[in-house]
């Protein structure tokens, strides 16, 4: 295949791949008249913010956006910390059930979340009568379950990064008189930061994209998060596509920012999980 054909093919595929996203953003800025006409043009002469204004004003998307952001942030921070400790335990120490635990984390990734939602629904309902802030229709419940479901993969992936740090650094620190706590937080933690960046993308996506928990556990509209809240735009007779596209655009932006920020670590992170 000649270079020119290869280049052209790559560019055409890139444009096709990105087209749905372009169409989403474009439609979000189109006035109602253009969206509802049967003449869908791939550009607009009259860009408007009215879809966004409706999303925030009429449908209360600001609140949903904030809810999603709170849940995702808490999940990312906690899962990063907890996964870091576990990853250190599983790479730096040899103990009896190490392999068993690792296999269990791997198996956990295979369990279909939607099936576990059934017992989790009753669990969350019962937790609510003891600790109301984690019961049904709370952001706390979403934080808990998304944390639990992002952890196994985070630990599994972070393990590769901890492994890549030479143990001699810790030995040297120990000889210099550093205690365990110092070694953990002052030496290992900063070194594994790029790995945490990569891992956090996956935790963020787990929490940010979660549709099934939000749909099942959140019974009032105030505490809804973006994915499930998006369903309010779908009407039985006719969908408000302008609103849906504006909301979808808003929902995509944070993930896109996250991806671009950690893009380099992401690839090395996958490599870390793959290579060794």
């Amino acid at each position: 295949m000649s270079r020119r054909i290869a280049n052209t093919t790559a560019i055409v595929i890139a444009l096709l791949t990105v087209f749905p996203l372009y169409w989403m953003v474009l439609s979000a800025f189109k006035p109602d008249g253009e969206i509802n006409s049967v003449d869908p043009r791939p550009w607009t002469w009259h860009p408007t913010l009215s879809n966004f204004r409706d999303a925030f004003g009429v449908s209360g998307f600001g609140g949903y956006f904030l809810n999603s952001l709170i849940v995702a942030t808490v999940v990312v921070v906690l899962s990063g910390l907890v996964a870091f400790l576990a990853a250190v335990a599983l790479t730096r120490f040899n103990f009896k059930f190490r392999t068993t635990i690792l296999v269990m984390f791997l198996v956990a990734q295979m369990v279909p979340v939607e099936a576990l939602t059934i017992p989790l629904f009753f669990l969350v309902r019962d937790i609510g009568s003891v600790a109301p802030q984690f019961g049904l229709s709370t952001l706390g419940s979403l934080m808990l379950v998304n944390l639990a479901f992002s952890l196994p993969f985070a630990i599994w992936m972070l393990r590769g990064f901890v492994k890549a740090i030479p143990e001699s650094l810790e030995e040297a620190a120990r000889i210099d008189g550093a205690n365990r706590f110092t070694i953990l937080w002052r030496i290992l933690f900063p070194l594994v930061a790029p790995g945490l960046a990569a891992t956090s993308v996956f935790s963020f996506i787990t929490a940010w994209n979660d549709f099934v928990f939000a749909k099942t556990f959140i019974l009032d509209t105030d505490h809804q998060t973006l994915p499930a809240a998006l369903m309010v735009f779908f009407k039985p007779d006719e969908n408000d596509w302008g609103g849906i596209m504006a909301a979808s655009t808003l929902m995509t932006i944070p993930v896109l920012i996250f991806f671009v920020l950690v893009q380099r670590h992401l690839v090395s992170g996958l490599g870390g999980a793959v290579k060794d």
Binding site: L21, M110, F121, T216, L270, V274
Partner: protein
């Protein structure tokens, strides 16, 4: 890495990942018999045992009970019914239809994702810098797009009256979600759109990490392009390929959001159900929680079989656990 990559290591300028493994340093840390690892694992245990382990046990238990609306909300005592839910399920034609659909749909998605991802990974190695960056960023965009927004925008593109696709094809009024297989195909396209970037970027990173000198050495020894691919590149890519293949199987088997949103909960009269959505619908739409749990257990068992295959494949490719 696998033993086959040892020559590659030798001529790289000692990357950070090359370190003595299992040797002196490992046994030294290993000998430190202490409670430290357990303290480090404690936070994970505190989260995972009640929120993952216990519900998993409950799922199994639920599948042996008769648990419906009266038990869920009126607090009636659930009756133990043994394998009744399972025999109901296995005796139901719809279950077998859904199982068949799930397997065909997931397999088609896996094959398509891998084919597209692998072809584009190879393409990436043959193009100029700007085309490569363009394709990489486009793929990153599709990868980053939440399943929910991917579903909504593709639904809009294929909308019956206002969709761009019908307009361009002159098929206004055609409903792509009405026919079972065109609906499945459309969801499949979205699944592939979301997941080919992972395959493409992983494989591209893998190909790039093969030192040029190894390939040149093989060529100097008179190996053809095919031989180089078959006997040099493929063995070195195998660890990545294994993960990419099995990861795709697991993801595509568990597709939920796209099916649920795009086909409105499983399609007209449930024609587009997959096991995952079926279990959810049985539990939360029909209030038959125990039957939903039984479907969940069966699905977990199927995926567990895949997992065992995964671990064995990892072991064989030299990954230490």
């Amino acid at each position: 890495m696998t033993a086959t990559t040892t020559p590659a290591r030798a001529d790289r300028p000692a990357p950070a990942s090359v370190r003595p493994r299992g040797g002196a340093s490992k046994t030294k840390t290993g000998r430190r018999r202490s409670w430290t690892p357990f303290w480090l694992l404690l936070p994970s245990a505190v989260i995972l045992i009640p929120l993952f382990g216990y519900p998993l046990y409950q799922l199994g238990l639920l599948s042996f009970l008769k648990f419906g609306q009266p038990q869920a909300s009126a607090g009636e005592v659930a009756e133990f019914v043994g394998f009744d839910n399972y025999s109901t399920l296995l005796g139901d034609d719809q279950f077998w239809d859904v199982l068949f659909q799930t397997v065909v749909f997931a397999a088609a998605c896996v094959v398509a994702t891998l084919a597209v991802g692998a072809a584009l990974a190879v393409l990436l190695t043959r193009v100029g810098k700007w085309s490569r960056l363009l394709l990489l960023f486009a793929a990153l965009g599709a990868w980053a797009a939440p399943a929910m927004t991917g579903s909504t925008v593709w639904m809009f593109l294929f909308d019956t009256n206002l969709g761009l696709v019908n307009e361009v094809l002159g098929m206004q009024g055609h409903n792509w979600f009405y026919d079972k297989w065109s609906a499945f195909a459309l969801v499949g396209v979205v699944v592939v759109w979301h997941s080919f970037p992972f395959v493409m970027i992983s494989l591209y990173a893998g190909i790039e990490s093969i030192p040029v000198s190894v390939l040149e050495a093989a060529r100097l020894d008179g190996a053809s392009t095919w031989t180089v691919f078959r006997h040099v590149m493929l063995p070195m890519l195998r660890p990545i390929l294994t993960i990419v293949v099995i990861q795709s199987i697991i993801w595509d088997f568990k597709v939920f959001t796209q099916i649920y949103v795009m086909t409105g909960g499983g399609g007209i009269a449930g024609q587009n159900l997959v096991l995952n959505v079926y279990a959810y619908q049985k539990a939360f739409a029909s209030s038959d929680y125990s039957l939903g749990a039984a479907i969940g257990v069966l699905m977990t068992l199927i995926l567990l079989a895949v997992t065992i295959f995964y671990i064995r494949a990892l072991r064989r490719s030299g990954e230490e656990l």
